[in-house]
Every structure is written in structure tokens, then in C-alpha cells.
């Protein structure tokens, strides 16, 4: 572990920005929330901060673009293609534990297994992630209910913890180690007490998270109760206020569903991949109008079961890191934690 002061940290970012596009969290004046913004020029934007908690935006859009062209056809090369050497690297600063963990989960779907999405993999490999500790938490944050911590332990290139007038910094990948070794003059050994003060700050955030979530059940143990509640009428109640906007899935760092559609471009055709949401009625509707989830309650329910029952079976882990964005984004006020509490009280009966 090393220490880097704020001035040198900015120098480091400036240097890294020569290798790609640099994104940092910037505080929005009116709301105090952090948004990911691209750095156009130095000095770093006023309001840049790696304190507080997760940004409004997730990381998934860096690797799985909101909308992207995945094929142009017909082509003489058929399905052979050269990776675009000019694919920009993204240097993303201030990613939180919930988000780096979410990217590792999405990787399991898009890269691992029999098929890989080459476009996702290329963008993912070009991401350089500088993760950061949460120094606070939001009302909707619940990573601790998933047995997770508000600081990153893996899945990053570098990780920083705010202390004094700078950061404790450590590498989590070979690329991160290389950056530290190549810029040795920017770092010094941590002073006595800095690690202790980082640990104290972390403990404070954990205490606040635990206090905020004390009335909600342990989310790591929801799979079985959900299975028992599969046919329960509670889903009609829980979904009654949903307006089917799809905000919960779009803002979710682990939701990866997409749709392919084709367009005409003069003499050629283009195949486009776009984010999609299981909450909208057309998502699974087939030709001939057959739909395995015709009712809104089926779709609302599906989000919970996909993340907490199906994906643990198919991909080995709950696909929720407790970031709580779906709670913030829901105009109907659906709170996953409260739904779990209602499931528990139904199942207990």
C-alpha cells in the first residue's frame, strides 16, 4: 500500500488520461449526488469528489453500451472481424465496491461460458478502474444485507481510500501494479495511523449501513423464502403501483438483458444491440402474442427471482450487490428490502 497526496493524484490522472477517456465522479450542486462525468481538460472539474457513496450511473454502460452496432451485413468478411485498435480505453475513477462487484457478475454472462460477446470483452479489457471506499452511504444502500462491504476488495486496477490530504492506494491487477511502479515518484509510504484512520472510517460507514437496514431481512438468505412465495398473492400487491417504466432494470448495475434489432442503411443492413427491460410487456412476447409473463405482477416478480433464484443456479451468485439504485429510481416507491420483509412475513405464516 502507498500514499498519494491530492496534487499527485491529479498528476496521475492527467498522465492516465493520455491513454483514454477519463471519467470522474462530480457532485451535482442541487442534489449533492455524484454523477460520472468525462474530464475534457485539466484541472479536474470543480466538484470532483471520491467521497460519499456510489454515483447515480453504473459502470455497465462502459462495457455494454446503451446502444451499439454489432454487425453490418452483408459483408465480404462474413463473421470475421478485426478488433478495432482504436477502441478507446476508459479510465473510471471512484467506482464503488457495489459497482466493481456488479461488473464481475455481468462478466460471467457476457464473457464466460460457451459463447463470449467479443465487443463486451474488448471494451471490458480496455477499462481501467480506480475504485474508492464509500465514506458515507445513501438511505437506499444495502450492501451489508448481501454480506458485502462498502469498500472494494477485488475487481479493480487501483483502489483508493481518502485519508488526510490524499489517498491510500493499492493495486488490484497487474495493470494497476504497473501504474504504481512506473510512477514511483508520485507515491510515498503511508504514515503511521493512516491505515487505522481508514479502518475507522470504514467501520463508521458499516455501522451506518447496519443501522439504516436493521429492519430488513438478510438478503443472502432470500432465495429459499422467495421459492416458497412463488405462487403467493403478495406479488399482486407489490406490483400494484409499478408503472412499467423499466428504470429499475436500466439503472441496475447487474441487469444485462438486451435486444437485437435490424435497420436498413442504404444498400446495407445494420444489427443493433440495445439495453432491454424484462419489466416491459413486449420483452418476452412472442409472435402470435404468446407471453410467459403477461401480467405486470409476473414481470415485477421476475426481477426478484431472476436475481435471487435463477442466476444463483445458473451463474453461481445472487445478481444484486445492494447498491439500492432500483429503490431510488422507482417512481412507485418499490423498495426491494421492504418486498423481502413482506416475503419473510408471508413465508413465516
Amino acid at each position: 500500500m502507498q500514499f498519494i497526496d491530492s496534487t499527485n493524484f491529479e498528476r496521475l490522472l492527467k498522465k492516465l488520461s493520455g491513454e483514454g477517456e477519463l471519467f470522474v465522479p462530480v457532485t451535482e450542486k442541487d442534489t449533492g449526488k455524484l454523477h460520472i462525468e468525462r474530464v475534457e481538460a485539466f484541472p479536474l472539474p470543480e466538484g470532483m469528489s471520491v467521497e460519499g457513496y456510489r454515483t447515480v450511473e453504473t459502470l455497465k454502460g462502459f462495457a455494454q453500451l446503451l446502444r451499439s452496432t454489432v454487425a453490418e451485413y452483408p459483408s465480404e468478411e462474413l463473421d470475421e472481424f478485426e478488433a478495432d485498435e482504436n477502441t478507446l480505453s476508459y479510465i473510471v475513477v471512484g467506482a464503488r465496491a457495489c459497482d466493481v462487484a456488479a461488473m464481475e457478475l455481468v462478466d460471467r454472462v457476457q464473457i464466460e461460458g460457451e459463447f463470449e460477446d467479443p465487443f463486451y470483452r474488448i471494451r471490458r479489457e480496455k477499462m481501467f478502474t480506480i475504485a474508492a471506499d464509500c465514506t458515507d452511504c445513501g438511505e437506499s444502500c444495502f450492501c451489508t444485507l448481501l454480506g458485502r462491504k462498502p469498500w472494494p476488495e477485488k475487481g479493480f486496477d487501483l483502489a483508493i481510500s481518502k485519508v488526510d490530504a490524499g489517498y491510500l492506494i493499492e493495486a488490484g491487477s497487474e495493470r494497476g501494479e504497473k501504474v504504481i511502479s512506473e510512477n514511483g515518484d508520485l507515491f510515498i509510504a503511508p504514515r503511521d495511523g493512516q491505515e487505522k484512520s481508514r479502518d475507522e472510517a470504514r467501520a463508521k460507514v458499516v455501522a451506518k449501513l447496519e443501522k439504516n437496514n436493521r429492519d430488513f431481512p438478510d438478503a443472502t438468505k432470500m432465495t429459499e423464502p422467495l421459492r416458497k412465495a412463488l405462487a403467493d398473492g403478495l406479488w399482486d400487491k407489490e406490483s400494484a403501483k409499478c408503472v412499467e417504466c423499466g428504470a429499475c432494470t436500466n439503472i441496475c448495475p447487474t441487469c444485462y438483458c438486451f435486444l437485437l434489432f435490424d435497420t436498413v442503411e442504404g444498400e446495407k443492413y445494420r444489427r443493433v444491440m440495445s439495453w432491454d427491460s424484462c419489466q416491459v410487456t413486449g420483452y418476452a412476447r412472442m409472435a402470435g402474442m404468446g407471453n410467459p409473463r403477461p401480467r405486470l405482477s409476473d414481470r415485477v416478480k421476475h426481477r426478484f427471482y431472476h436475481k435471487y433464484d435463477y442466476l444463483p443456479l445458473s451463474h453461481g451468485e445472487i445478481f444484486c450487490t445492494g447498491c439500492g439504485r432500483c429503490i431510488d429510481a422507482c417512481s412507485a416507491g418499490i423498495d426491494m428490502r421492504a418486498v423481502f420483509r413482506n416475503v419473510m412475513s408471508k413465508v413465516a405464516k
Partner: protein, 275 residues
Amino acid sequence: MKNPYYPIDTVVEDIITETPTIKTFVLKPVRPVKFRAGQFMQLTVPGLGEAPFTPSSDPNITERMEISILKTGKVTNALHELGPGAKVGLRGPFGKGYPLEKLVGKDVLVVGGGVGLAPMRALLYALFDDPSKYRKIVIRFGAREPAELSFRRQYDEWRALAGNISLKTTIDVPHPDWSGHVGLVTTLLEPDKLEGIDIVDSYALSCGPEIMLKFVTLKLLEIGYKPPQIYLSMNRKMSCGMGKCGRCNVGHYYLCVDGPDMCYDKIKHVPNVFG
């Protein structure tokens, strides 16, 4: 690098009208496509999009592929408008295909309805490679009316292939041109109509509309089949074919990688499994 989203350039060589609503498209992809019976392809109508279909042709033939398609939605309506020489695209094959290795030495019951006969024909071609590998091959096909029985020009030829093959057909309601059995395909699944099949040592495979799959399953259970002996070709909307886009799930299975033919034992607990 390979782009798994690129539709391989393919020409429609011929179109065979099977029924008033089903056409078989004879496709020649620019390079051969090797598939196992029951695996499916994503067929592209350029500029319009893709839809998933299981080929109805002999899996041993890789230069050409036949796909039999019911006119039922955006992509299939456009396909039915195409003529010979039209350019389309193919991705795949995707999915597992039928569990052929499990069928060796067993009595095999094949139940198809409507356009569900299409994937079943690829299965039959695979079984007919060497019918003696199976004890009995009992085929039961149903359609609403006589004109809707796909591939009927081939039925007699199939019956004559080997002594252990039985093929019976039925239509849902009486029709002036029909002197055969009348009733839903489930009425051909009464134990006395199954050529003395040894249910305990048999597998049943079925493809057809969801409502048919449901009643076929109930009938099979009633006559003594156990859920692990029943394979159903399930229907869900599909896009990527590779277990990534999310929409074709039945419980925790993605039909595009785990199916589309699913062992009923694996999915019987899923609510509304038949839609």
C-alpha cells in the same frame, strides 16, 4: 475474431408450400452449417430482424438446410412473401438438440402437432439413420384439418423404412376429405393405440403449440410416463441465442442454451410453464 451476431449470407433456393400457412424454405448458406436435430437457427430477413427456427431437414446434410415456417408474426410474414433467390441470413446452430444418445435401445414416442412437426422431422431423419438402434419408433401427428398436416407426402415412405416404425395421424374435427382418425393428438396416446410400447423403457418427445404440449404432457403422465422420460420443445421469445440477452428463460434455464427441448422433470415446478 468471430462476430457471433453476424447473419451468414444465405440464399433461398426453393420454397415448398406444406400447408395453407406453412412453407418450407430450402436454404443454401455460403458455408455449410452443421447442426444436431433439435438445435435451432436464427434466420434473418435483412433489415427486418431475426426469428428462431429449428431446421426440419436431415442433420446429415450441411450444404443445404430446410426450415419449415408458420406464418405468424413480423419476420415470418415477410419470409412468406419471399421467392426463390431471395437473400436471407443464418446464425447458429444454438441449443442442445434432442437427447439422441438416451434413445438408443428404447421405445421412442414422437408426438407432434401443427408446425411442431417441423423440428420433429429433423429428429425423425436422425432416428431413420439407423432405425434398428431403437426398439420401436412410434410417431403420432395431429393437425386441425387434413391440409395442415405438414410433410404428408413423405409419411408412406417413412412407414416403409423399417418394421419397427409406426406413424399415425389425426385431425381435430371431422373433414369431408378425411377418413382417418379424428380427435386431438392426445386421443392417439391411449395405451391400446401405441403399438404395445413399453412405457417404462421409453422416452416421449413432443413439439407443438403450448396448449398441445400441456395436454400431451398430462396424457403421458396419465398413461405412466414419468417426468424424466418426457422431452418438450418449449417456446419462448429469443434474441441472442447464446444465453446473454435474458428473455427465453423457463425458471433458471435459458432455452437457447439449455433447450429448446427440455426434460419435463427439470421445468415441471415452473408456474405457467405452458404459458
